[in-house]
């Protein structure tokens, strides 16, 4: 393998570098001419958006950390100082806090895309599993970040979430003490959360790199869920999808900007502007919105260990999803039975989100239990059965020639392209 790379770049400087370290060749191969299915819809923007979001989070986070003090006596005040005294500190903090929400919006849509179009199926099982790892790291990072301002919700959120581990039989309490570094959430806890909150995004970056490497081995799925058969089915990534991603990014940035500039505290809780008080729990502890469905599952089970297990199970089930779904057809477009059920799953998750935001009384308990049951029923019972019961619609023979010509196959084809027989280019 030793030996210089034969670079095709004309520019002498780029050529010199590329000969010794073929980064330019790699970027051109993976993001320039990379053959990409030509029928992507806007759901395929969200991976790129998540990358942009991570970059924004790291950039704002690094500068916030320059002004933040991870000490129980000073953390809250240092955040208020960022809001009032640091140049553009308010902007950095609001972008970072709302950036977390945007990140979960983007990633949840990205995951829905995967569920709807069967992106987790052969040969992309590992790609999907790495994605679930990314979700877990994101959740841990977001949780620890929320603790840092050391408001009431920070403190009590940290207390409640770390106490989940006390449900583990025998060693639970020892583990919680270890997590805290003491006998309650205190300075040691805040310090380690800050350290880990700063570390995790870089771990995340590494895992995302693996996610992308795996993606570029298998190639992207597409709205039809069928394999790329020939070069006619693809477009070079640049300029086609760089431009399409840019369009989506503009919309994403507009939504982001609206949140930051017009409703920066919409998704937060007023209680977190009260400094942490270890002697007084707020009347209602609610996690950030992106954790609400999982929180609702936790509360739906009238048993401590059971609730914790089911909550973690809600994510664990995603790990084995590629083997739970027995249907060989990827895209829900061709799965008449799966399609309504995926809609029901979305409704169930939204309901769980609402349940999580309300006190566990009356109708909310019932709704929470029904939705929880459906969530697990969907993955553990329906998906294995559907593959056997369902009769999929006929699949198009290729991306360039969908059998469904009306109602959206691969989008409108240029006249002549479909009529002409395929030719090797």
């Amino acid at each position: 393998m030793a030996g210089l790379h034969k670079s095709e770049f004309k520019n002498p400087v780029i050529n010199w570098v590329d000969t010794r370290l073929p980064l330019f060749t790699m970027m051109s191969k993976e993001y320039g001419v990379f053959p990409t299915p030509k029928n992507f819809n806007y759901f395929w923007n969200f991976g790129a958006l998540a990358m942009v979001n991570l970059a924004i989070m790291i950039a704002t986070g690094v500068f916030l950390a320059m002004n933040y003090t991870p000490n129980t006596l000073m953390a809250f005040d240092s955040v208020e100082r960022i809001m009032r005294d640091v140049n553009y500190g308010w902007l950095l903090r609001y972008v970072h806090a709302n950036g977390a929400s945007m990140f979960f919006i983007v990633v949840y849509i990205h995951m829905f895309r995967g569920l709807y179009y069967g992106s987790y199926k052969f040969p992309r099982e590992l790609l999907w599993m790495i994605g679930v790892v990314i979700l877990l790291i994101m959740m841990a990072t977001a949780f620890m970040g929320y603790v840092l301002p050391w408001g009431q919700m920070s403190y009590w959120g940290a207390t409640v979430i770390t106490n989940l581990f006390s449900a583990i039989p025998l060693v639970g309490n020892s583990i919680v003490t270890w997590l805290w570094g003491g006998f309650s959430v205190d300075n040691a806890t805040l310090n380690r959360f800050f350290s880990l909150h700063y570390l995790m995004p870089f771990v995340l970056t590494g895992v995302i790199f693996l996610h992308i490497v795996a993606l570029h081995i298998t190639g992207s799925n597409n709205p039809l869920g069928i394999d790329v058969k020939s070069e006619q089915d693809t477009l070079p990534f640049h300029p086609y999808y760089t431009i399409k991603d840019s369009v989506g990014m503009c919309v994403y940035l507009m939504v982001f900007a609206c949140l930051v500039f017009f409703a920066p505290n919409l998704l937060g809780h007023a209680d977190n502007y009260i400094p942490a008080n270890p002697l007084s729990t707020p009347a209602e502890i609610v996690p950030e919105w992106y954790f609400l469905p999982f929180y609702a599952i936790l509360r739906s089970v009238p048993n401590k260990l059971g609730g914790v297990l089911l909550m973690f199970g809600a994510i664990a089930v995603l790990f084995v999803l590629p083997w739970l779904d027995t249907s060989p057809v990827r895209s829900a477009k061709f799965r008449p039975l799966y399609r309504p059920f995926i809609a029901v799953l979305v409704v169930a998750v939204v309901v769980l989100g609402q349940v999580g935001a309300h006190p566990p009384e009356g109708i909310w308990v019932v709704l929470g239990r029904v939705a929880t049951v459906y969530y697990f029923f969907h993955f553990l019972v329906l998906l294995p059965l559907l593959g056997k019961l369902e009769r999929p619609l006929p699949l198009p023979e290729s991306i360039s020639r969908p059998v469904i010509t009306r109602g959206g196959g691969g989008g409108p084809l240029p006249s002549g392209a479909a009529a002409k027989p395929m030719e090797k280019s």
Partner: protein, 188 residues
């Protein structure tokens, strides 16, 4: 465009639309650069002094307790400020030096406020590499010119805070200040 023409260049670079396309590319590129610049500025500016730091930019000093011949150190913007009550002999020594003997020529009058020439106010940071010179305490060495002596690399300053012996290249800086009254100095 047929589905086959997508290998390297989908659009001929110098077709009839070349100038329009170039224009669109330039506008898009410029928009992206301006956008990224606008996003980067808040990050960069957040590293500038914050409002609470700027708010500490002036201090009041009561000079009544400083006996003749002695000096105190006060902190202004995190820096030591020397406020020295000079004796008549020290003032005379500072005034009498011919300017051509100075490394960084400056009259004594230009370094004090008129009518308050017994008070010398200078930033106590050696102009060589930023150490704090000795000479405020009675036990400190004051160097051959009776001002300050920097322990780091041996620079010496006279009773007007002017450098008399290297390696420092310049006189001790005079901060912006004024006398709010005969006994109160406002620095900053």
């Amino acid at each position: 465009m047929s589905a086959t023409a997508h290998t390297q260049t989908a659009i001929p670079p110098h077709g009839p639309d070349a100038s329009k396309r170039d224009f669109l590319k330039l506008v898009t590129g410029a928009g992206a650069v301006i956008g990224v610049g606008a996003l980067a500025w808040p990050l960069i500016d957040s590293m500038n002094p914050s409002k609470d730091v700027l708010a500490l930019s002036s201090v009041d000093v009561d000079v009544t307790p400083i006996p003749e011949g002695q000096a105190i150190t006060v902190v202004w913007r995190g820096k030591p400020i020397f406020v020295r009550h000079r004796t008549a002999a020290e003032i005379k020594a500072a005034v009498d030096v011919p300017e051509n003997q100075l490394i960084d020529p400056a009259t004594d009058a230009s370094r004090v406020k008129a009518g308050h020439s017994q008070w010398l106010v200078v930033i106590g940071i050696c102009t060589h590499l930023g150490c704090v010179p000795l000479g405020n305490k009675p036990t400190d060495p004051r160097g051959d010119w009776g001002g300050w002596f920097c322990p780091c690399h041996g620079s010496q300053y006279d009773t007007s805070g002017r450098v008399r012996h290297g390696p420092a290249p310049a006189n001790l800086a005079v901060p912006p200040y004024n006398f709010a009254s005969d006994t109160k100095v406002t620095i900053g």
